[in-house]
Symmetry: C2
Subunit: 430 residues, 2 copies
């Protein structure tokens, strides 16, 4: 499938994309040098928003699902990138334990697991699935489409190592975002590499740490390229102690909404953007967008309806919200047959391996497209993200995807820095 985007880009973004294309050797060298200083997480997916005048990451997932949504053509790239990752962490690895999400009832997620395990197998690893789900007490065959099955087994802790009954892995690949908290069974492992590390899970991770690191990365990158960092970054602010039941923190949210909107209005004026700015209010820790709201007015933030407050008050695994992030809203400008579309870029190690569009017929340009219960249609990127054609228009697929790949890698770099700073063992970064 070839995405047919009804995009008619406006001035600043076209200029930005042109700038990225022209500066390709400089950009690639910049990343090469950054990766000398920082180690990327084993994998990562980044949701981007292209507003027509700016393109920015809105979510960086360190436990990506959706590998099934990438095109088959991208698989060789993914395998090659995974080889580089495994060589780095555990060159003599023979066995890889993959820890999936606890819920094995989602057929799409299971297909992503199949894809991910096929990629890892092709790097020369025996891959098996060990679950944190206490309800799975014995090896269990889970049904897949087309009569296939997936064997999911209970994790076993033996001393300071984790594995399956007859399987001792060198590397453990976490594909569970740990929203439910830090599982004791994974703590204090010895001579086993956990990828990504425990503190990448939502039990510890905060979006604001990520976006604070992203802001620095975007600033440094923008300085090198002599562009306005706002074209690839969003304003945000946090409130540290919010209890919507007790109505504490509402003032902070309202003030932050006002502050972010004020900064946005100033930028909109600077670039002559006529649209009405909006902000996103979301939990600082958490995942699947259950608590994500669009707000256009500080008053609206105060008048959060009970229903909305309930939505925000718990994320999908039931942790009460105590920290809230208010972030500049970036509308998606891309549409496919009048449905709004949002690009998601996939990375393994430091390489962009592909991407897809999340296409929603029933959602607005200013709404979150990754909400539960909302089925999106995945549309795989039809070209790779690492082969721009500087002689062609920025709107050619390979050029647009290159620009997306650059911004996504900035988010990847931000994630690396975020994970360094939040690592409980700071002795590693002397």
């Amino acid at each position: 499938m070839v995405p047919h985007l009804l995009t008619a880009l406006k001035g600043p973004l076209l200029e930005l994309e042109r700038r990225l294309l022209d500066a390709t050797p400089q950009i690639e060298r910049w990343f090469r040098l950054e990766w000398q200083e920082h180690t990327p997480p084993v994998y990562c997916s980044t949701d981007l928003r292209n507003a027509g005048f700016k393109v920015a990451p809105v979510d960086t997932n360190l436990f990506p699902g959706g590998f099934n949504n990438l095109s088959d053509e991208m698989l060789p790239l993914a395998v090659q990138a995974a080889m580089a990752a495994i060589e780095k962490y555990c060159p003599d690895a023979r066995n890889l334990l993959l820890i999936p999400e606890n819920d094995t009832g989602n057929a799409f997620y299971l297909q992503s697991l199949v894809r991910l395990s096929a990629i890892m197998r092709q790097t020369g690893l025996n891959v098996r699935f060990g679950t944190l789900n206490p309800e799975i007490e014995r090896p269990t065959l889970v049904d897949l489409p087309e009569g296939r099955t997936l064997l999911i087994e209970p994790l076993e802790r033996r001393g300071r190592r984790i594995g399956l009954a007859d399987f001792d892995p060198c590397t453990v690949l976490l594909n569970n975002d740990l929203s439910a908290g830090l599982p004791e069974i994974l703590e204090g492992l010895h001579e086993q590499t956990l990828l990504p590390p425990l503190h990448a899970g939502w039990a510890v991770r905060r979006k604001s740490n990520h976006f604070a690191a992203y802001k620095e990365v975007a600033k440094k990158f923008s300085k090198t390229l002599d562009i306005d960092p706002w074209l690839i970054d969003s304003y945000f602010a946090t409130c540290g102690a919010v209890d919507l039941d007790e109505r504490t923190g509402e003032d902070c949210i309202a003030a932050n909404v006002e502050s972010v909107l004020r900064q946005m209005r100033s930028k909109y004026r600077e670039y002559g953007i006529k649209e009405k700015p909006f902000v996103i209010v979301k939990a600082d820790a958490g995942t699947r967008g259950m608590g994500i709201m669009s707000v256009r007015d500080p008053a609206e933030a105060r008048e959060l309806s009970r229903r909305r407050r309930d939505r925000l008050a718990t994320d999908n695994e039931g942790i009460p919200v105590t920290e809230v992030m208010v972030q500049e809203g970036v509308a998606t400008f891309e549409t496919i047959n009048e449905a709004v579309a949002e690009p998601v870029v996939y990375m393994i190690d430091r390489y962009v391996v592909g991407g897809f569009y999340r296409v929603h017929a029933s959602r607005g340009r200013d709404e979150n497209l990754n909400a539960p219960g909302m089925q999106f249609v995945p549309l795989p990127f039809a070209a790779s993200c690492n082969l721009p054609d500087p002689k062609a228009s920025p709107e050619v697929a390979s050029n647009r995807f290159y620009a997306y790949g650059v911004v996504a890698r900035l988010a990847l770099l931000a994630a690396s820095i975020e994970l360094e700073r939040t690592d409980p063992d700071q002795s590693l970064y002397g």
Copy 2:
């Protein structure tokens, strides 16, 4: 284009391919461990022959041309692999000097240079072309198809560094096989990485060193997989001092032909192969197959006609032959529309990035397909070499190409070992 091969494979090879498919994780781990011990050359192409009962490398090129023959779909893989290579050798590199063959009159070769430079540019390098050709005394625009041009400039030596008038590269990529001898201008460079190193050039390199290393690699690999190494390797022998003008060395060649044929007959009997064995007689140092002859009988070797002797006596850049290699002939079993076809596999760093078939309508199954003046038709591989489907037949394209990729990587590993052993600076391998 999808290759439609009129192959009807016989028993042993199908068994070998099945074995390779089933052992994929083991094979990939084996390579991963080998690459901990050895450093691959920056790039490499390997000509393979699939005889229907065995598949073996017949030539390993450390200065590959023909990048233009790879499919566009393989380019992202090539870029990603080149990024890995550059990171390893010169992470802060900004400028890459590419030294092409001296002859810039070959339009196909020029297109390969364009492809190769595009790949390297996409890793974040400024790429320019500096030539060893003394006839090019000033920057010269060479015409390409479709009205494009390529700027080739004379090399300049400044102290212990090499570059162009206004260009000081960190990395120098040799795409000149140095058949004409070691150029003084490239000797004793300081703080510039020459890739591959000087001793990879035909001025120093010997095919017999390569195939001796390949024999060891094939033996080790075959032991791991419990297969007969002969299924992926060929017998060979060398004669060290041949002067066909003086008719010295003819006895040695005849004896070696007899010896290799004898070993082959024994293997043919073991596997019930009814074909008549033949050997290849070629210069031990040299390139483009000007002096490559098929011989079926030791008597034939003694009765080399004057014409053939002349052909063997000089390679394409005019160096008299003094060393000769006699190698088991591997007929190509693959045909496309009745034309014989030979796979060529391309590698950058330790990754297989693609390949193509050399298709010749006018040559026999037991002849060299890479002879000058013989135009072959390139047919790009239609699938990648790193995504086998163990559930499908070995004859499916992705599975056949995986097997080719494995054998080609064995040749790549042999080239690494060969270059270590022949490095004039042995202090690097303590």
